[in-house]
């Protein structure tokens, strides 16, 4: 109450509802529009469980789970990016500085390599490779990488710069190892890996939604607990501690949460981590002075950006769709440069 009064009238009171509506609009658009033309009446019928079987199958089994997976992953990356940028006080932080995407890449690459010896495919078809394990394997790899970096930085008091440097170093090593693994490979595994690496929502099903949703719910439920510590973590440690914050504990909690969110999403959709870099900046830009709006805006914009970028990728490429990771990177760079012009 006092905050609003003392800060004067805010022009951005409608920002959050506006973007929330936009996100819902984008969701509807993504369900109604696709490579296969389905009349809107049939889409509505399919959503309520009626209409022709093909339309129902396309909407309920292909489009909807894909869009929902995208929304969840977008929220994960965006919130993880916001947390990391806040606690490392580094505006260019994203889940890759905790080695999450590199760790996941290495894990997925290693898994695909060794799966051959476990499964003995006997043929060259993709279906034989156990792709259903990729989300769990990728997530595990990301979490382990995050844990290693945390352990390295912990011995040095978790300085923000220290953790960034540890992250870059470990990330580079993991990346090199993954590339090394890929170098000696057959083409079909490379194809799966490349598709995963470029970040894709292609063929994402309800299983992926079920995999992600517990993390989304748990992660978002913890966020209110972190709201005040997050503000304090943006100060230097001595200042935050003299304000009464248990710095190490809260820093570790925020870090663990961002790693869990990012790693679970990376496992499912691949490293479309650019979302984690851009969306927090967008949220801060639109929130302006209302710092309390940054977090909800990050969540809404994370969902919105991924939905729209995926829709663009699907429509622009038609049958040969462009992976969302490519779209977010291409669209994101100009946005980032424009936003960072304000940074000294």
């Amino acid at each position: 109450m006092t905050a609003a009064r003392l800060s004067g009238p805010s022009v951005s009171a409608w920002t959050l509802p506006f973007f929330a509506l936009l996100a819902i609009g984008a969701l509807a658009l993504a369900v109604f529009i696709g490579v296969v033309d389905i009349p809107p009446s049939q889409v509505v019928a399919a959503l309520t469980g009626h209409g022709p079987a093909t339309a129902r199958s396309i909407i309920m089994d292909i489009r909807l789970p894909r869009v929902v997976t995208g929304i969840l992953a977008g929220i994960h990356f965006a919130v993880a990016g916001l947390l990391l940028q806040a606690i490392t006080r580094n505006p260019l932080a994203d889940p890759s500085i905790m080695g999450v995407s590199q760790g996941a890449t290495l894990a997925v690459a290693a898994f695909l390599l060794f799966a051959v010896y476990i499964h003995d495919p006997g043929s060259n078809t993709l279906a034989v490779l156990p792709t259903e394990w990729l989300p769990a394997v990728g997530m595990l790899g990301g979490l382990i990488a995050g844990g290693v970096i945390y352990a390295l930085a912990f011995r040095r008091n978790l300085g923000p710069l220290r953790i960034t440097i540890c992250g870059i170093a470990v990330g580079a090593v993991l990346h090199a190892l993954a590339i090394g693994l890929i170098a000696g490979w057959g083409s079909e595994r490379i194809e799966i890996l490349l598709q995963w690496l470029s970040g894709s929502l292609y063929a994402r099903s309800w299983e992926h939604v079920v995999f992600l949703l517990p993390f989304t719910v748990a992660g978002l439920a913890v966020l209110p607990l972190l709201r005040r510590p997050l503000e304090l973590l943006r100060f230097d440690a001595p200042i935050a501690r003299s304000f009464g914050l248990s710095y190490r504990l809260q820093f570790s909690l925020a870090l663990a949460l961002s790693c869990c969110l990012a790693a679970s999403a990376v496992g499912v959709v691949g490293p479309i981590v650019f979302v984690g870099l851009i969306v927090p900046h967008l949220a801060r830009f639109f929130a302006g002075r209302r710092s309390s709006a940054v977090l909800p805006l990050t969540i809404v914009l994370g969902a919105l950006v991924v939905t729209l970028c995926d829709l663009v990728g699907r429509l622009a490429g038609q049958a040969e769709e462009i992976p969302i990771g490519v779209v977010t990177a291409i669209c994101g760079v100009p946005v980032l440069i424009a936003l960072l012009r304000k940074v000294p």
Partner: protein, 297 residues
């Protein structure tokens, strides 16, 4: 019967690697007392304050609030009783004055509790006491150095702690704001019974604001007592390696330290001047008692 001390430490020692930054510091501060901490650069003032605030782990000894050792208290418990303002603190750029001052209430509201009437009161009082009410909505980046310093003091005030540690709160302020801060320190100690330890460079400000002065030299406490006593001791000239004398300007105020500069002696005969250069070593003339680099620093 022993008097109740709000903040105390015994044999408090801090080492940075092999170097002892603070050795065996014994202090006790009564409720409502203003204690000035003076000493050359690198004498351990900031280290002492940080150790008293529980921000650095002492290698030996301990600090205690109301007899309870700091290490047995959580950061929030400490922050409710003790506020600390470091030298030249930095805040996130886009933060407003009010957002900064609000952080001072974290120790009271914790993770969940909504801001109550008394929290809002404390914030309003903290802003008022530092004349920042009109600046509440301004971003810290837009403020002058003096205004920003007052915003930080305001955040420390919002903590409503009974102990306030200030590390050079008047540096970088013009004389008007310096006096404002010193008056605020006095008012807090007398009206709110806040115990205040202030590290300060200006010896005359230290003399005029404090009830007791503690003089540190190379990590050790060399004087602990009343300002007038310090004036008689001759320690200032010795520890800071300057020439000067204490003069009584007004009867009710503590004596004023008047420092001699080399240039004033240029009118003296040659033999007198050479004796001064011998005394003070090969240093540039100091324009104040404080602003000079030191060999220990």
């Amino acid at each position: 019967m022993r008097k109740q001390m709000s903040l105390s430490c015994s044999r408090l020692s801090v080492a940075y690697g092999p170097r002892m930054a603070l050795s065996d510091l014994d202090l006790s501060i009564e409720p409502g007392e203003v204690r000035a901490l003076i000493g050359p650069n690198g004498s351990g003032k900031s280290t002492a304050l940080q150790a008293l605030a529980g921000l650095i782990q002492p290698t030996r000894g301990h600090a205690a609030i109301d007899g309870t050792p700091l290490r047995s208290m959580s950061r929030r418990e400490i922050a409710r009783r003790l506020a600390f303002l470091p030298q030249q603190p930095t805040a996130p750029d886009e933060m407003t004055v009010e957002q900064l001052v609000r952080q001072g209430r974290f120790a009271h509201v914790g993770l969940f509790r909504a801001y109550r009437q008394d929290d809002e009161e404390a914030i309003r009082w903290a802003l008022q006491s530092t004349n920042l009410t009109d600046f509440a909505g301004r971003s810290l980046r837009e403020l002058s150095g003096g205004e920003r310093q007052r915003a930080w003091i305001s955040a420390a005030l919002a903590q409503e702690a009974q102990i306030l540690l200030l590390d050079e709160p008047t540096s970088y302020l013009d004389i008007g704001y310096q006096i404002e801060v010193l008056d605020l320190i006095h008012r807090l100690s007398r009206e709110k019974k806040v115990s205040i330890v202030v590290a300060i460079h200006d010896i005359n400000q230290a003399m005029s604001v404090s009830d007791h002065i503690s003089l540190l030299d190379r990590g050790s406490l060399v004087f602990d007592g009343e300002p007038a006593e310090l004036a008689r001791s001759g320690l200032i000239e010795q520890v800071f390696r300057v020439k000067g004398r204490f003069v009584q300007i007004t009867p009710q105020a503590p004596p004023h330290f008047d420092v001699e500069l080399a240039r004033w002696n240029s009118a003296l005969p040659n033999d007198a001047r050479s004796s001064i250069t011998q005394n003070s070593g090969n240093r540039p003339p100091a324009d104040t008692t404080a602003e000079r680099t030191s060999k220990q620093g």
